[in-house]
């Protein structure tokens, strides 16, 4: 009997230690967007240096982050796309979207014979990705690239084969500017591509572009910059051809913010704004008092996010992310202040 009692004590001790491990309050766990990962790594490292709070971030993809948040296995999620209706209905409680950084999707191509930067209009872009425009010397492309000798070469479209927030940003833009795209293909993390080849991840698409003469595909700005890939100028709504850069993305993101933070930047009105830009969001529950979630942890999380939208923004530019506009920071502050623990606001005054 003594032995049995002893083993029971051992087992319960083990369970207790496990519980205390998972409830360790100076550890925060996040998961989601792989696009945000380089910026987050830098931010979290610096936050650990100054505040001693460790953040474990898993870059499993936006959709994965959302489903982990819905299952309540993480403290916060990160996504390049706001939650959709079905995800909202699956979620056990209201989720806040805090804009955290601004990203862009660029059109990279492999046409070494071109001296100038390729110019693309929304109509040409839709034509290319719908499989309408099949050769580079098409009159539609020639019309917006005066004086450029375009080769008589078949167009090879490269797209993402894995579901991704990047695809969602790009297809959302195409759906906005082309009614045909909206009705035939639509927007989503993975869609039924009418033409082209799929590559896994940014590196897969970049690999296809590099290898195939005459290829064009969409990749994230940061990836294109780091890998020194050629990318085109896109004509925005005001008729200007815009080179994607931190300043043109910031211009696109400088808009009045809705209170819930879910603003779309696609096809911006800003004269200098790059039209395929998007916010990236950190997702958290509005009510932080739920199972195995102590108040201390909620405090740490809210202070971390508050730091990320303020001081943390200084790491953006060096890593090719655009810093948030004052309006977005203000909206973020409002959203963070609305978070509660057991009905009481968590962030009362600025820390």
């Amino acid at each position: 009997m003594a032995a049995i009692k002893g083993s029971w004590i051992m087992v319960s001790l083990g369970i207790l230690s496990l519980l205390s491990c998972s409830g360790k309050s100076h550890h925060l766990i996040g998961a989601g967007s792989s696009f945000d990962n380089p910026l987050f790594s830098k931010m979290f490292y610096s936050y650990f240096q100054s505040r001693g709070i460790k953040v474990n971030y898993q870059s499993i993809g936006s959709g994965g982050g959302i489903s982990q948040l819905i299952n309540r296995t993480i403290d916060f999620g990160a996504s390049d796309v706001p939650m959709n209706g079905e995800q909202d209905s699956l979620s056990p409680a209201r989720v806040l979207h805090v804009p955290i950084t601004v990203s862009a999707v660029v059109l990279s191509y492999n046409l070494p014979e071109l001296q100038d930067t390729l110019r693309l209009s929304p109509q040409v872009l839709a034509g290319l990705f719908l499989g309408r425009i099949t050769h580079w010397n098409d009159t539609a492309i020639a019309a917006i690239n005066p004086g450029v000798r375009l080769p008589d070469l078949p167009v090879v479209i490269a797209h993402r084969s894995d579901g991704s927030g990047t695809s969602n940003i790009f297809t959302s833009y195409l759906s906005m500017i082309s009614p045909e795209w909206a009705s035939r293909v639509g927007r989503g993390s993975s869609v039924n591509w009418p033409a082209g080849l799929g590559g896994k991840g940014n590196e897969g698409v970049a690999g296809l572009i590099r290898q195939t003469h005459g290829a064009i595909g969409y990749i994230e700005l940061a990836f294109a910059m780091q890998n020194k890939m050629a990318f085109g100028k896109i004509r925005n709504r005001t008729g200007h051809f815009i080179t994607p850069s931190i300043s043109s993305i910031s211009a696109a993101a400088d808009i009045p913010m809705p209170a819930n933070g879910k603003a779309s930047l696609a096809d911006t009105d800003a004269p200098d704004g790059y039209p395929i830009s998007s916010f990236s969001w950190v997702l958290l529950y509005k009510e932080q008092d739920y199972r195995h979630h102590p108040q201390e942890k909620a405090d740490h999380l809210l202070h971390l996010l508050d730091w990320m939208i303020h001081e943390g923004q200084r790491y953006s530019s060096a890593l090719y992310y655009a810093p948030l506009s004052p309006a977005a920071v203000h909206a973020g502050e409002g959203i963070l202040k609305s978070a509660t623990y057991d009905g009481h606001p968590i962030l009362t005054q600025k820390n």
């Binding site: 993809g61 959709g63 894995d162 579901g163 639509g186 869609v191 033409a195 080849l197 799929g198 897969g204």
Partner: protein, 320 residues
Amino acid sequence: METSLQAPVIPSPAVRDTVGIRKRIRRSFRQIRTESVFKQTLVIAGLILVILVLGILLTLITQSLPSIRLLGLKFIWGSTWNPVKNVYGAFPFLLGTLLTSFLALLICIPFSIAIAVFLGEYYPSGWFADVLKNAVELIAAVPSVIYGFWGLAVLVPMVRSLEARLGIDQPLGVGIFSASLILSVMIIPYAASLGRSMIQMVPEHLKEAAYGLGATRWEVIRHVVLPYTRSGLFAGILLSLGRALGETMAVTMVIGNSSILPKSIFAPGNTMASVIANEFTEADKTVYLSALIELGLALFLVTVIINIIGKKIIDRFTNE
């Protein structure tokens, strides 16, 4: 063991006998117990495996119910895979899986049989045979992502120039043919090593009898060794087919990942395993997730059906 029972200093024969008998009885009880425990362990291990396979099948079926209910048989014959509109037709992927696997098999058969005959019959030992044997085993040990990189960097440009020479109007390099080539390299060791051990097991007297009748080495291989090892060679090929059906990473890197029904073997396509790997993490709708699981179920069933057909063929070969 027997000698230890006869202890050297024991007073009377009667006492010695009862002690010995008791010891022996105790020992045999222990033996029986070990015997039954061992047998039970085996049974449990076997049962766990059966339960595991049935459990996987059951999970796949229950998880794919939403998609089965919505799409029915259209899932297999439909050729549109459109997550945005919740239309899921797996036919292009089914075709892609079968095409790449069987094409890979076709390419690998001559090589694997040649290696098996060479190592089993011509050079069963010696340094060159050791080098070749280890190289073949190494092929099986290389992680598939390495094959993917190699395929993308080396094989795809080669296939592209081949396609250009064949006059295909858009030489892409990536596509079903490249995927089959990669797969054939990956599966050679499975067929070859099983074939080699089968060929080494051909009884010496059969071969000697054939030589005695004046047969040449080629004739011995053709009329004695190969017919004798037919079922073993076929089993090895079946094993490699199983590997080809489920291979994901290397295939997804070179096949082009297009959901459009492939028009030729040089066209880009997609396989069931690669679609699951690509889209599973970001499947953000219930039906979408369920359709991907149904794709897994379909892959499971295809593997089972091919295995059953293979077993039937092996049985017929051995009964002849």
